[in-house]
Amino acid sequence: MKKASIIMIIGSMLLLGLFKFPLWNIMLGAPQYPEPLGMNIYVDGIKGVQEFDLQNIDGLNHYIGMKTIPKPGEMWEFSLFPKVILGMVLLGVIIGLLGYVNKVSYKFFIGWFLFMSILGVLGMYDFNNWLMDYGSNLDPHAIIKVTNPDGTPMSYKPPLFGYQKLLNFDVTSLPHIGGYLMFVGMSLTLVAFWLGRKESLKKATE
């Protein structure tokens, strides 16, 4: 159980990477942008990949009536998410420590994992809603209005995951280092659960 608990602690602590590295990244390349513009999505705000990328994305998007990329103060998510992440790290570490001194069972590990997964799915859902609004809630006075074949206004929603062509832009949306660290961390808590379970089964058979 000691080994499993240590892995649990390490796994939950890997979430701290989200405070240093971006969770997600969206890159926008176009014929005129051989060096693509990009936004890095952190738990506490959005930053340009290059210094002036956000300004330039906003500059281009005003033609099609998209809102500017929100500043940290303009979205409640950016003040809540850091707290949630920090809370989950603390919770994970505490569970790990208690596991280490055999005060809680390995089942708490999977409990943490499931709780984190639910929060993650909620987060993704919220993120997707924002993308939807960002890409389709357009200024009616937009300079350029593009419609779908059926006459409805075209949506510029970037993909949640993967690649999509939006007008002249090639848009790629993928997790970034922070996101990968989170996935690894969460997987480690599963490993911790599996190890803890194996150990306790072994004990039971002895």
Partner: protein
């Protein structure tokens, strides 16, 4: 008169001989397979980058052009000594001071010899210097922005030709005079030239960090013509070598009268010794008047300061600092090999190439073996300093460059060819024709301890049939050769702009990494900058009207302006708010008596307009900046001089 006739006939005879010889060696016609092999060597696929930068002087265009090698494609014309309406250089209020001189505003120049800054004898790609021949000046171009950032006028100089070459650590950029003149200038009979005129060789210090130029001292030499120069390097670091002609000191019909002496000189100057003399208070401060123009990247503005004195040094006051090396027949180019041992005098009227030895020169000086003196300057014996002679390599040698593999390449103007020969054995290894009448040649990294081999290009004076004809006036031609093998191989023929006298070239990597993409708006310290739409305004100060204007895709702010009157001096101060690579905006107003402005992201430029007619006049963006470029326009209302129309401005709404 008889003399002229004779020499003309002689030269004609020679020309005939050499041109017939040339025809037989014309290897220009290649079979298909071979030609495609050559094509591959210069083919840079679409979107790929060239491996080398080449900076070609523009000669009488006054500018510097930037090329890629091996493709021979031109990337930019950098305005230096001439007004350039394309960007507004020399027309905008910010850049007009760059062209200020002691003779007032000079809108044109004749640029000659670019040279890239060096550290430890290797080119470092920070700055490139270039001389103006006519109204003597030296300019510095910053290779992070590819813009001219400093120009210093050179007093006491006339025909600033033996310039602008840098020493091993860019301690100095050196500017020698072609014409000798009265120093200080005064009203005197031209016929009293001999013994009265002098030639100033200027050592301009370059501050290590900023690159700021300052004339440290001028050596006042005898009244010869100082043609070209090069620094010593390695063992000869601390010395500078200048070719001279007209040691006869003739002031008229020089083509004959300056060609009488069997030998002229290469002047060897121990600048370290003179520097020490000057640092100890040596030399005299002479009253002078010359302009020092500096462009500040943060205010985006140049200032011109008149300097009032210059330190001059009489070489006879500094024993052991200056010597003359006899060199046959009006030498032109003065080239020092990468080791610093060999000094090549390209005697343009000689059939042979003369190479002096630095080691032998030092020994002769040590032994005090002098053949005589001229104006107090010791003359060494020709035989004592001679390292070797390249026998009969061609006719009309002008310039030599080195490949760093022990080979030298010399251009021959009259026989129109480049000849490769070996340092030390002086044997000719190869020759290739040029098209036609080559002046300078360049090997990347040329003036340094470490030439970068691989390519050599020849810059020709005559084009004739090389390209589709364009009437009587044609661009000059250049040829690129592969010099990586034993024999030179002609790869490419490309047109150049103006008259490239010389070029500096280097591998692209160092420069490419440092090249700026934008100017940061937050660093913009221009006094009339409007850094956001909130800063835009129109301010009247008596007859002056200052318009603080911004541009961003795709509008001007403000774009409606009223209250301007006929005869007002209207300043359009245009700030480009973009912070995106390669998104300039332009500005032009109908009837503007200067050029347009082309404003880079983060930059501010100002144009003055004095309206002469009542009316509503349009202005627009001259650069196709965006899909809505044609919408990027505005109106300025001009009222009668005695009207009372108030100053008003707006964007996006009607003026109330």
């Amino acid at each position: 008169m008889k003399n002229i006739l004779k020499s003309t006939l002689a030269i004609l005879g020679v020309l005939v001989t050499f041109s017939s010889c040339n025809n037989s060696s014309n290897s220009n016609k290649k079979s298909g397979a071979l030609a495609s092999n050559v094509a591959e060597k210069v083919y840079v696929a679409p979107g790929e980058h060239d491996s080398h930068y080449a900076f070609l002087s523009g000669g009488y265009s006054g500018n510097l052009t930037v090329y890629g090698l091996p493709s021979g494609r031109m990337f930019k014309e950098i305005p230096v000594f001439s007004q350039f309406p394309t960007s507004g250089y020399g027309y905008s209020e910010e850049t007009k001071p760059m062209l200020n001189t002691s003779h007032g505003f000079v809108p044109w120049g004749d640029s000659h010899h670019p040279d890239i800054s060096q550290t430890n004898g290797e080119i470092d790609g920070r700055f490139i210097f270039i001389n103006e021949n006519n109204t003597p000046r030296i300019a510095k171009i910053d290779l992070t922005t590819f813009e001219t950032t400093e120009i210093i006028e050179v007093p006491n100089s006339a025909g600033n030709h033996s310039s602008s070459f840098v020493t091993e650590n860019t301690e100095y950029v050196v500017a020698g005079t072609r014409f000798s003149v009265p120093i200080p200038q005064r009203d005197m009979p031209i016929s009293e030239y001999k013994g009265n005129f002098q030639g100033a060789l200027s050592f301009i210090s370059v501050a290590p960090e900023t690159g700021n130029m300052d004339i440290k001292f001028q050596v006042l030499m005898p009244g010869f013509n100082y043609d070209l120069s090069h620094p010593g390097r390695g063992k000869s670091h601390g010395w500078f070598f200048f070719t001279t002609y007209n040691t006869e000191e003739a002031s008229t019909l020089l083509e004959v009268n300056a060609s009488q002496n069997d030998k002229d000189f290469i002047a060897a100057i121990n600048w370290k010794k003179i520097e020490e003399y000057v640092n100890n208070g040596g030399g005299t401060m002479m009253p002078a008047n010359y302009a020092h123009n500096v462009y500040d990247e943060h205010t985006h503005t140049a200032t011109s300061t008149m300097k009032k004195e210059v330190r001059v040094v009489n070489p006879s006051e500094v024993p052991g600092a200056v010597y003359f090396l006899p060199t046959p027949k009006s030498p032109h180019g003065c080239d020092v090999d990468p080791s610093g041992e060999y000094i090549v005098g390209n005697g343009k009227l000689s059939a042979n190439l003369t190479v002096h030895s630095f080691t032998k020169m030092l020994a002769a000086i040590e032994n005090k073996k002098f053949a005589g003196e001229a104006y107090g300057i010791p003359i060494l014996n020709f035989e004592d300093v001679l390292a070797g002679v390249v026998e009969q390599p061609g006719l009309g040698p002008l310039h030599t460059e080195f490949d760093g593999q022990g080979n030298a390449y010399t251009t021959f103007f009259i026989s129109s060819e480049v000849v490769k020969w070996k340092l030390g054995t002086w044997e000719v290894l190869d020759r290739k024709p040029t098209f036609y009448s080559v002046g300078h040649l360049t090997i990347p990294g040329g003036n340094s301890r470490k030439p970068q081999g691989k390519y050599m290009f020849a810059m020709n004076k005559i084009t004739k049939d090389r390209y589709l004809p364009t009437g009587p006036e044609m661009e000059h031609s250049a040829q690129l050769y592969d010099i990586s093998g034993d024999k030179m191989e002609l790869l490419l023929d490309f047109p150049t702009h103006g008259e490239p006298h010389y070029a500096a070239a280097m591998r692209a990597d160092l420069i490419k990494e440092r090249s700026k993409k934008i100017y940061r708006l937050e660093d913009n310290k221009h006094p009339y900058a409007a850094k956001s739409d909130d800063d835009t305004k129109v301010v009247r100060k008596g007859k002056e009207v200052h318009i603080y204007m911004t541009t961003i895709r795709s509008h001007f702010s403000p774009d409606n302006i009223e209250g301007v009157k006929v005869g007002d001096k209207v300043y359009f101060h245009v700030t480009n708010l973009e912070q995106d690579f390669d998104v300039p905006h332009g500005f032009a107003v109908l009837g503007q008596n200067t050029s347009e402005l082309l404003v880079m992201p983060g930059q501010t430029k100002s144009s003055v307009w004095i309206p002469t007619k009542v009316g509503v006049w349009p202005f627009y963006c001259t650069d196709f900046c965006s899909a809505l470029h044609q919408e990027m326009q505005g109106y300025i209302r001009v009222s009668a001089a005695d009207s009372s129309t108030p100053i008003k401005w707006s964007l996006g709404e009607d003026i109330e």
